[in-house]
């Protein structure tokens, strides 16, 4: 492979620079860097963005090869070997662009957003650590290293969600994220074990070569277990509960980790395991079902939420569901396409919401907002672009990707899935524009003093907004056109081999579906317009009429309560039982009992010590007699 020495350097730096940034900033940030603590991490992350683009370029220039480099042997235990091995192919290339560019923009944004925060240096240190882990995850060429990155981003998620750790809700949210993730990770680990047991290796190439030889039952289990990990990491039902709570973390964190990069890790991992899933149709079916259900479920919840970040969080869950829907339905390229676009517009939406919150002096409740359009116009326009991209209006990015997914479902015969997807699209349009209308239009409902302080954010925050708005708008056309045979499809061909691409029927079914979904989206916008601009008393009345439905949506479908009752309470009860019965009675009983035994023995043996020598002499004499008898017996015989 020519030109690989530069690639090696690039890949090594991609991994090492953020790590170095983390260590240095963490160690020295508090004393030496203080308010300038962002300098090193931001500089490093800019470099990694450049390197990501370089790596992407390399893949473009070498369409049929993948860069593979086993740099360093880390684990060598009998048959199990784990190396620091890297793989850069077209899938990696896409991920690198997302992670590298959005990561960089978020770092810049954070300079403004986190200004004056006492934990300034810590934030940037953690951000860099996250970049390190994320790069390891996407660059890995074996499941073990991927899992290292996987756990690493989970850790950073925890650290950053509970960044303002003195706030109780924040630290609890961090714990929740980590624990729920753990459940998924457990499945992932089991899946890895199974892979290793059946194929003897964890390297992607090794595993995929043997994919066809694995028995179908085992393969099904492997895929399901791996998918469990994805469910946890990418917040699908029922392990989605951590994502909305994760909004306790600072907005840049939400943008980077919970929209653009970390939550995509699950999707990436499933996509990477394409050769395994392709042979396990039941697993794909389950993936699709889970994704579909999650998509509509979280969209349903999103329409009643009042916290601006929560709405976007549920939207993310829904979007991720969409991606899994795509993968499960067989539209692999569409799914990754959606991931690509989603990273940009969802990240944009989060950063814009951060800008809004910043302008409102920390207020996140949309009921306190309104009429911000004139006051923070740049935020408004960029957020609008993001929203339009989200709901899938032609010609922005979301449209092409979403449409390809739904169209593929319909054409493939999954009408139910298509219908659910359409409804989800409708709901998405409703809540997205509900957000826009409540926040930027109408009367400003904020108090007098808050209104005074509303201002546009600093350039360091607004420039990333603009930079993200551009791909949100244009990516679709650039990359996904024409549908089914656009650039991205050809680009990802080596990864998703053997996939059929039907020629897109512009005038027939394909075109019709496209128009229909566009109409649905616009309908949703109209509904939101009516409810929140024209007749603002409507939402209240609808809520009163459909009270059960409204309550269910508002209370997040009671999932947290379900978790509280079923696993949590029973675990606590079990722990309590273990304490009162096992620990107190059995263990303490055994230990104390043993002590009592010695005590009693001592008490019983005490009378032997009479203090009278004659008694002792008797014992000695008796012993002597016994001894003589014994000796005589043995010597005699």
């Amino acid at each position: 492979m020519e030109g690989t020495q530069y690639m090696k350097i690039a890949v090594a730096l991609l991994v090492l620079l953020p790590l170095a940034g983390f260590i240095i900033t963490l160690l020295f940030g508090k004393r030496f860097f203080r308010t300038k603590a962002h300098l090193l991490p931001v500089a490093l992350v800019t470099v990694t963005a450049v390197l990501s683009i370089y790596a992407f370029e390399w893949v473009v220039r070498h369409p049929d090869e993948a860069f593979v480099w086993n740099a360093f042997s880390w684990v060598a235990a009998g048959r199990l070997t784990g190396e620091w091995g890297f793989l850069v192919d077209s899938l990696t290339g896409i991920m690198l662009l997302v992670v590298g560019i959005i990561g960089m923009l978020v770092h810049y944004y954070s300079i403004g957003y986190m200004k004056d925060d006492p934990g300034y240096y810590r934030f940037f240190a953690y951000l860099n650590l996250f970049m390190f882990a994320m790069f390891v995850l996407i660059l890995a060429n074996n499941y073990l290293l991927l899992f290292l990155g996987w756990e690493g981003v989970g850790l950073c998620s925890y650290l950053l969600i509970s960044f303002w750790f003195r706030k109780k809700s924040a630290s609890q949210a961090g714990k929740k994220a980590f624990l729920v993730n753990r459940v998924g990770d457990f499945g992932f680990t089991l899946g890895m074990f199974l892979i290793f047991v059946t194929t003897g290796t964890l390297q992607f190439t090794g595993v995929f070569d043997k994919a066809e030889m694995i028995g179908s039952g085992t393969l099904l289990w492997i895929c399901l277990l791996l998918f469990t990990g994805a469910v946890g990491k990418s917040a699908q039902f029922p392990l989605h509960v951590w994502l909305p709570d994760a909004m306790e973390g600072p907005t840049p964190v939400s943008a980077l980790i919970h929209a653009a990069t970390m939550v995509n890790a699950g999707v990436y991992m499933v996509a990477r395991s394409y050769p395994l899933f392709i042979h396990a149709h039941t697993a794909m079916l389950i993936v699709m079902i889970v994704g579909t259900f999650t998509a509509i479920y979280s969209a349903y919840i999103a329409i009643t939420q009042n916290d601006i970040k929560r709405v976007i969080a549920y939207s993310t869950v829904s979007s991720l569901g969409f991606m899994f829907l795509a993968l499960g339905a067989g539209a692999w390229v569409a799914g990754i396409f959606y991931l690509f676009a989603h990273g940009f517009f969802k990240g944009l939406l989060f950063l814009c919401s951060g800008s809004v919150i910043h302008a409102m002096g920390g207020e996140q409740d949309m009921r306190q907002m309104g009429g911000l359009r004139q006051k923070i116009p740049l935020t408004f326009w960029t957020m609008l672009i993001g929203a339009i991209a989200l709901i899938g209006v032609f010609p922005l990015a979301g449209f092409w990707a979403k449409d390809e997914i739904l169209g593929g479902a319909f054409v493939g015969g999954d009408y139910v899935v298509w219908a659910v997807g359409i409804i989800t699209a409708f709901l998405t349009a409703v809540f997205a524009f509900r957000l826009i209308f409540m926040t930027f239009f109408g009367e400003c409902r904020a108090s007098e003093e808050v209104r005074h302080h509303i201002h546009e954010s600093a350039k360091v925050m607004t420039i990333p907004l603009v930079l993200l708005a551009i791909p949100s708008a244009l990516l679709g056309i650039l990359v996904g056109w024409p549908p089914e045979t656009g650039w991205i499809h050809r680009f990802l061909e080596p990864v998703f081999f053997d996939l059929e691409h039907e020629k897109f029927a512009w005038l027939g079914v394909g075109g019709g579906l496209m128009v229909f979904s566009l109409a649905v989206a616009l309908l949703g916008v109209y509904v939101a317009y009516v409810m929140y601009i024209r007749r603002t008393e409507l939402p209240g009345r609808v809520a009163a009429r459909l009270q059960v439905a409204y309550e269910a949506s508002f209370n997040k479908m009671y999932m947290d309560q379900v978790y509280e009752v079923v696993p949590i309470r029973s675990t606590i009860a079990f722990a309590g039982w273990l304490w009162t019965f096992f620990d107190v009675k059995v263990i303490d009983g055994a230990v104390n009992g043993l002590a009592r035994l010695w005590e009693l023995t001592g008490e019983r043996l005490r009378p032997l010590q009479t203090g009278r020598v004659q008694n002792y002499a008797l014992s000695i004499f008796a012993g002597m007699v016994v001894l003589v008898v014994v000796l005589a017996w043995f010597w005699g015989s």
């Binding site: 010590q609 009479t610 203090g611 009278r612 004499f621």
Partner: protein, 102 residues
Amino acid sequence: MNALQWWLTLSILLFCIGAYGVLARRNVIVVVMSLEVMLNAVNIALVAIANFRGGDPGAGTLFALFIITIAAAEVTVGLAIVIANYRNKRTVQTDQFNELKG
């Protein structure tokens, strides 16, 4: 039973008689006396063996002599202790000497 065995039997019997006295009497001075009886029994055995068997001819006899000597010293000290004890406790009964009980 040859001659030596008879003498040894005598020694054994005397020893056990003395042992009984040491173990069973209440007056500590009687215990001391029984102890002396036991020592004599041992001496008899020693001298008998020295008389009937070869080997080092003087060792047995001298050993018996030393035993006599040391016995004398031991009786002296022992009785001194008994007397000192008697001064404090006004008793010579062995069951009263149980300070080390427990």
